[in-house]
């Protein structure tokens, strides 16, 4: 019976949905990665995703082009992130409070803005037509491989972009002068200043990039995943992304793996909640619980490492 259950869960469709569900979390989590590398905490990812998601739909509708919609979402994401940056760096507002402010804008401000621009209440209804959705693509060769093709091919353009960005992010952080500066600023701002790096400029760039990535995540949500914007849409994904980054040790690859774990947990929830005799509420807990457990495991392993290093240095003495 259990094997039946497992078989009915772990099929190609399911794995396909894991990848689809992971993508928006991954976008935001990569945003958290780049911010964290520069020593900036961007807790506003959730709000940025909400607002970008809304503007992605609006720009797409106004111009009747999904691409301009996505670009608009990214621009809005960058502007919001820079707003947090401006208040944090220039006005010395605590950056966590700045992030919470943007989250508030995301929760209620979006409903206000939607009403202001379109007169609609709480969701964008029919604004998103089939032509305005982010298109999916089939990958020529992989498509025809039996199982793998079903899992890996036929995703939205942005899904592939999300995973491509993992690699790109790694390159930027570890192989470019900008990445070097970002890491320097994050690890030791004083040292960075002493060699003539403008800490503030680098932090603006980092938080701006994190906003762009969260903007992509938002666009993915409204212009592909839920096919329209509604007020409960992002549902904590921005926060889960923060957790994924913490669990992935702030590294692109690790963050991708932990994002996949959350994607798996959420896909499982969708799958299992339709079954008889299973409480959909308890299943809904899974992704959040996995996050906490993951954080704890990560914290324990860090602590052990530190201990080992301590005993090792003591032994050397």
């Amino acid at each position: 019976m259990i094997s039946d259950l497992l078989l009915s869960i772990f099929n190609a469709d399911f794995l396909y949905s894991v990848i689809r569900i992971t993508a928006p979390i991954l976008f935001a989590a990569l945003g958290a990665v780049i911010a964290e590398k520069a020593g900036v905490v961007n807790i506003g990812l959730e709000g940025i995703m909400m607002i970008s998601a809304l503007f992605g739909v609006l720009f797409g509708y106004w111009t009747q082009s999904w691409l301009i919609g996505v670009i608009g979402a990214v621009v809005i994401g960058v502007l919001l992130a820079l707003l947090i940056g401006f208040f944090a760096f220039e006005m010395k507002t605590d950056i966590i409070l700045g992030g919470i402010a943007v989250n508030m804008l995301g929760a209620g401000g979006t409903i206000f803005l939607l009403d202001m621009f379109t007169g609609m209440k709480g969701n964008t209804g029919s604004l998103v037509t089939r032509e305005l959705l982010i298109p999916t693509v089939d990958i020529p060769l992989i498509k025809s491989i039996p199982f793998l093709g079903q899992v890996l091919s036929g995703h939205a353009v942005l899904t592939y972009l999300a995973f491509l960005l993992v690699w790109l992010m790694w390159v930027v952080i570890y192989k470019t002068p900008l990445g070097l500066n970002i890491r320097a600023v994050g690890e030791n701002p004083n040292a960075a200043t002493s060699i003539g790096v403008s800490v503030q400029k680098i932090q603006y760039i980092a938080i701006g990039l994190s906003g762009a990535l969260a903007g992509l995540g938002g666009a993915f949500m409204s212009m592909y995943y839920s096919q329209g914007w509604n007020s409960g849409m992002v549902a904590g994904r921005g926060f889960i992304a923060l957790a994924a980054t913490a669990m992935g040790r702030g590294e692109p690859l690790g963050t991708m793996l932990s994002s996949l774990l959350f994607g798996l947990a959420q896909a499982l929830r969708t799958k299992v909640s339709g079954m008889q005799g299973v409480s959909s509420y308890l299943v809904s807990v899974i992704p959040y619980l996995v996050t906490i457990i993951g954080l704890v495991l990560y914290a324990i392993s860090t602590k052990n490492k530190l201990k080992k290093r301590h005993t090792a240095t003591k032994g050397a003495e």
């Binding site: 010395k92 507002t93 919470i100 943007v102 209620g108 509420y281 906490i292 914290a299």
Partner: protein, 375 residues
């Protein structure tokens, strides 16, 4: 004295930040509304004035409902004050409030007790539940260094879904169409101070008492001092021999207990049965209130009043004009940004400090030269 000038400056700066936030709101209203003046009238005056053809009169009932709306947010504001004072960005107030409300509700439904004692037991039960749940992020932070911000955020969702599970599958009153618990026993309900339907219950008095208790705790006890000192400089606190870990845990458990207490008092005072289907939002309001109060418990009721007033104003505005009530979030966000901005109007602060320093120096020199002539 210099302190007096700076104090005055801080108050003026706070007012300026609030005015700026309201100005931002006004800009949005003028852009979005066809009747901006009506909207503004209801936003700013509606909460305490009834507009009648015969003239405008003070609306006592509405004023009392604003006071009633402060009950849960005073508690959540106090909770955030204590936790943020220790520099712990614990955002789990939402979950603790909902859990406290749920536990209080269950005790109010299933326990058999005399009125008076029953309410106390329910509220204490809610407080205990809130305190216990906050132990989790607190201990994970202190023992393992896991970010309390992320764990507490995740916990909010865990708490919500687990409550919804129990609500739907264990404690549901199946005779009702909607999913809700059985009604509270009369002995558990928290009565209104004056029975007039404004929901201004004795919980309001309890909330004010706790304002005093928490203020005394933070500024007149060694534990409160330790919490504030850890918030200002954790290393210093550690080197001077404070039990940093214990105090950090304590601050968050107190935060959780206050939240849970607020949740249970709100549920038992406002409703006849447990009705929350989602996180109630008082935890986030508590953060806004704590920021407005600059983490000082004494200012919490004023900040809570201001937020409750604005909230009411926004609701009235949505009812009587074409501006949606979610305006409140835009105002709150603007308050957040400007009010918490240390550099906002910092030039003037600098000027006051310099002015005071120069004056003090001049006084000292005068004193010194006088001393010289005397000898």
């Amino acid at each position: 004295m210099s302190d007096k000038n700076l104090f005055l400056f801080n108050i003026l700066r706070g007012l300026a930040a609030i005015l700026l936030a309201l100005a931002v709101a006004a800009v949005f209203i003028f852009i979005s509304s066809d009747e901006p003046l009506t909207a503004l009238k209801y936003l700013l005056l509606g909460p305490v004035v009834s507009f009648k053809a015969t003239g405008n009169v003070f609306n006592t009932t509405s004023f009392l409902t604003i006071l009633a709306a402060m009950i849960p947010t005073i508690f959540s504001g106090l909770a955030v004050c204590v936790m943020f004072s220790a520099n712990q960005f614990n955002l789990g107030g939402e979950g603790a409030i909902m859990l406290g409300g749920f536990v209080g509700a269950l005790l109010g439904i299933y326990l058999k007790m005399n009125t008076g004692l029953h309410q106390v037991v329910c509220v204490l039960g809610g407080a205990l539940a809130g305190g216990l749940i906050m132990l989790i992020p607190a201990i994970l932070k202190v023992k393992l260094g896991a970010s309390e911000m992320v764990t507490s955020l995740m916990m909010n969702y865990v708490v919500m879904f687990v409550i919804l599970h129990f609500l739907n599958f264990v404690f549901a009153d199946r005779s009702k169409g909607a999913t809700q618990t059985f009604p509270f026993q009369e002995t558990a309900k928290i009565p209104e101070i004056i029975a007039n339907g404004t929901k201004l219950t004795w919980g309001f008095v309890v909330a004010l008492i706790f304002v005093v208790i928490i203020a005394l705790f933070m500024y007149r006890t060694k534990w409160g001092y330790a919490i504030r000192m850890i918030g200002i400089n954790q290393s210093f606190a550690q080197y001077s021999g404070m039990q940093v870990g214990t105090v950090i845990i304590l601050s968050q458990v107190i935060g959780g207990m206050l939240s849970g207490m607020g949740g249970s008092i709100e549920v038992l005072g406002r409703f006849g049965t447990f009705l929350w289907r989602e996180l109630p939002g008082y935890g986030w309001l508590g953060i806004t209130i704590a920021i407005l109060a600059k983490n000082n418990p004494i200012f919490v009721p004023f900040a809570a009043f201001f937020i409750a007033y604005l909230n009411k104003g926004c609701n009235l505005m949505a009812t009587y004009s074409d501006v949606p009530s979610e305006m409140i979030d835009i105002i709150q966000a603007a308050i957040f940004l400007f009010f918490a901005a240390e550099q906002f109007l910092a030039k003037y602060r600098q000027r006051i400090v310099v002015h005071n320093a120069q004056r003090d120096l001049a006084l000292q020199e005068a004193a010194a030269s006088q001393g010289g002539s005397n000898s």
